[in-house]
């Protein structure tokens, strides 16, 4: 993980935030809001269905309140040592994988898989491409996708999407 544990010593009475000090307060507040939403939603449930989520939501809210209290009683300092890596590549990866999942029923497993493999390859590559490297990686990608397709579709009999575009 890029957000490595802090290495510098922190004196007593101080809490080093995992990220920024502000976020350290924000997350417990979000969990309090989530717990409250769960409690509110549980109004429409039967007693048997509600008893467990209500208890857990209450415990989660309590733990979040205790965390806020803990933060209030200590001095919270920013984690300045955390790594600042390429955010655009991270976002592109998530977008590519989401697109892959959404397009798979339409384009079919093989086509969507090959296209996504290619895009992810481009996103993950930091060094400049040479024709030889590109060709080698592309061929490896095709072989890997074919192997996985064979394993799942033929050996394990998993009904992989054929693609609505090609099914008429």
């Amino acid at each position: 993980m890029s957000n490595a544990m802090p290495k510098a010593r922190v004196s007593r009475g101080e809490i080093r935030a995992a990220c920024s000090a502000r976020a350290e307060y924000l997350l417990p507040l979000l969990f309090i809001a989530l717990g409250s939403l769960c409690l509110w939603q549980a109004r429409d449930m039967s007693q048997l269905g509600a008893v467990f989520p209500v208890t857990i939501a209450a415990v989660m809210i309590l733990a979040s309140v205790l965390r806020l209290l803990q933060l209030t009683l200590h001095r919270v300092i920013d984690n300045v040592e955390r790594h600042q890596d390429s955010t655009p590549r991270r976002v592109l990866l998530v977008v590519a994988m989401t697109g892959w999942a959404l397009i798979m029923p339409w384009a079919g497993f093989l086509l969507a898989g090959l296209a996504s493999f290619f895009f992810l390859m481009l996103i993950a590559q930091h060094k400049p491409w040479t024709p030889r490297r590109l060709l080698g990686h592309l061929m490896t990608g095709v072989v890997l996708v074919a192997c996985f397709y064979g394993l799942f579709a033929l050996l394990l009999n998993v009904p992989l999407p054929m693609g609505r575009w090609f099914m008429g």
Binding site: M1, S2, N3, M5, R9, V10, R12, E14, I15, R16, A17, C19, A23, L26, L27, F31, G35, C38, M45, S46, L48, G49, A50, V51, F52, P53, I56, A57, V59, M60, A63, S64, R67, Q70, D85, S86, R89, R90, L93, V94, M97, T98, A101, L102, M104, P105, G113, S116, F117, M121, I123, A124, Q125, H126, G141, L144, F148, F152, N157, V158
Partner: protein, 510 residues
């Protein structure tokens, strides 16, 4: 003498070959995130219908043994547990791999799995009827407290603040309530979506919360995934044997814990490996090194989760109550073959039972050469494969693995959503392990809690129902100790002025 004769039946060339194929297939399937031991066994059950009963059972047992062990590869090399029981292996296995000791971690995991597996099988052979009675003394309330114990362990063990661990566990428990309720049948937190009716699939969540954050961070930097110093041999047997010998008590204790936890149906390898990890850390003279790549952490978790294979078969064979999901599938295969579980399995059908146990023993022994061999190639592949191929390959496995569980694209979308949420939470100090454990243990905890609630309401003694039984009280006491022991120990050490005793997983200050 008769037992020995039956056991020799397992050594026929056909059975030996089937065990070899089963272990190898199990290791590969277990190492792929998304392909669980249950899936491996379930898919191959029809293949075994045409075989002789003992051969069929030996093959299924071998697949199961291999798959549980195989889960450690991805836990160590990619920080993604291949199976839920390998969650705790990530704690020390991945830090070892990051600092260039991935080959040693894989070797240790192999040795520990063999040792743990053998102790579990030995318990199955010698103590099965006796230990099965222990499982019967656990009622719904005890199961509820056991699940809570598992959650307190993970919360206390996870990096950063214990309170953050509890909040994460609560979040996981709430995620487990999405869909149709296990008791009562209410539709909960679906917000009108048909997709969420079936709830969040545990293995999809496991893949999302562990694998997607790894991918997100992999693409962000040009550095290699794992640090590699000097010549990598792939197998460091002598060094591994030395460390295993040093940790022989740890191995034995962890395997015993694994066996005991596995006899409780539903508890599974995830609790077993967490309890053994916690005990290994508590008993260590250097608890602060746990979570930073301590080899004893890998030994403890891997010995425990492979001991659950033999342990889980104890209630399966003696009582007909499957200890783990793969046991349930194997129990089904037993019934198809015309065998009924219970005492007669050890009398009338003793030949089948003892041949099967011998087959498990054989499969566990085969783990050593096969595990080291496959582990060597897995490690070499991970360190030599360029990032531009590693990222799409892991991504491919996560998508196809998640899809294959329920043949559902929605599961893939849920997996991705949880993955992004997991990455964000991880960035803010909320580790994935408590969330995943909450999701896994949620249904067990809820069923126990609601049934206990009904029992308490019917008897008019709610407090006594939850806090009256000796087993419940013992588990509650253990849970309290697991939460407060590290805090008290740290305070005492600080008072003595010993900074080295600070828990490695604790927050910088509390």
């Amino acid at each position: 003498m008769e037992i020995l004769t039956y056991a020799l039946g397992a050594l026929s060339p056909v059975n030996l070959g089937l065990a070899l194929v089963g272990v190898a297939a199990g290791i590969i399937i277990g190492a792929l995130p998304g392909l669980s031991a249950t899936m491996a066994v379930a898919v191959l059950v029809p293949v075994t219908f045409g075989m002789a009963p003992e051969s069929a059972l030996i093959m299924l047992g071998a697949i199961y043994t291999g798959a549980i062990y195989g889960g450690s590869y991805s836990a160590i090399l990619v920080n993604t547990p291949g199976t839920p029981s390998a969650i705790a292996t990530t704690f020390d296995g991945f830090p070892m791999a990051k600092r260039g000791d991935g080959d040693l971690a894989v070797t240790l995991s192999t040795l520990a799995s063999v040792a743990g597996g053998l102790i579990g099988v030995l318990a199955l052979l010698t103590l099965a009827p006796l230990l099965a009675q222990v499982a019967l003394s656990f009622g719904p309330v005890e199961y509820f407290w056991l699940a809570i114990f598992g959650l307190t362990l993970i919360s206390a063990l996870s990096e950063g603040s214990t309170l953050k661990g509890f909040i994460g566990a609560g979040f996981g428990l709430l995620l487990s309530t999405i869909g149709v309720a296990v008791v009562g049948g209410d539709t909960r937190y679906t917000f009108g979506s048909q997709v969420l009716l079936g709830g969040i699939e545990t293995v999809s969540a496991l893949i999302g919360l562990y694998c997607i954050p790894v991918l997100i961070d992999l693409v962000a930097t040009p550095e290699a995934h794992l640090k590699v110093d000097g010549e990598q041999r792939g197998i460091r047997l002598r060094e591994g044997l030395g460390l295993a010998w040093l940790g022989k008590f740890n191995l034995f204790r962890s395997a015993s814990i694994g066996t005991l936890v596995a006899i409780l149906p539903g508890a599974g390898g995830s609790i077993a490996s967490l309890v053994s990890y916690s005990e290994a850390r508590r008993a260590s003279r250097q608890p602060q090194t746990f979570g930073k790549g301590n080899p004893q952490g890998v030994l403890a978790t891997e010995a425990a989760n492979n001991a659950t294979v033999g342990g889980g078969f104890i209630p399966t064979l003696v009582l007909g109550i499957p200890g783990t999901p793969p046991d349930a599938v194997i129990l089904g295969a037993l019934l198809v073959q015309g065998f009924r579980t219970g005492p007669e399995l050890f009398t009338t059908n003793a030949s089948i039972t003892y041949t099967f146990i011998a087959g498990l023993f054989l499969a566990t022994c085969l783990l050593l050469p096969l595990g080291l061999l496959i582990g060597r190639y897995a490690f070499k592949s991970i360190i030599t494969i360029p990032k531009a191929l590693l990222v799409p390959t892991i991504a491919f496995m996560t998508v196809i693995g998640t899809y294959a569980i329920r043949n559902s694209i929605s599961d893939v979308v849920i997996m991705l959503t949880l993955g992004v949420a997991g990455w964000l939470l991880n960035r803010y100090g909320f580790r994935p392990s408590p969330i995943v454990l909450g999701l896994i243990l949620g249904p067990i905890a809820e069923q126990g809690f609601v049934q206990g609630f009904l029992m308490g309401r019917a008897s008019g003694a709610m407090f006594t129902t939850f806090f009256g039984g000796p087993i419940s009280l013992t588990i509650i006491a253990l849970s309290v100790v697991s939460v407060f022991y590290p805090i008290v120990k740290e305070r005492l050490a600080r008072r003595r002025g010993d900074p080295g005793s600070r828990g490695s997983h604790k927050e910088a200050s509390s």
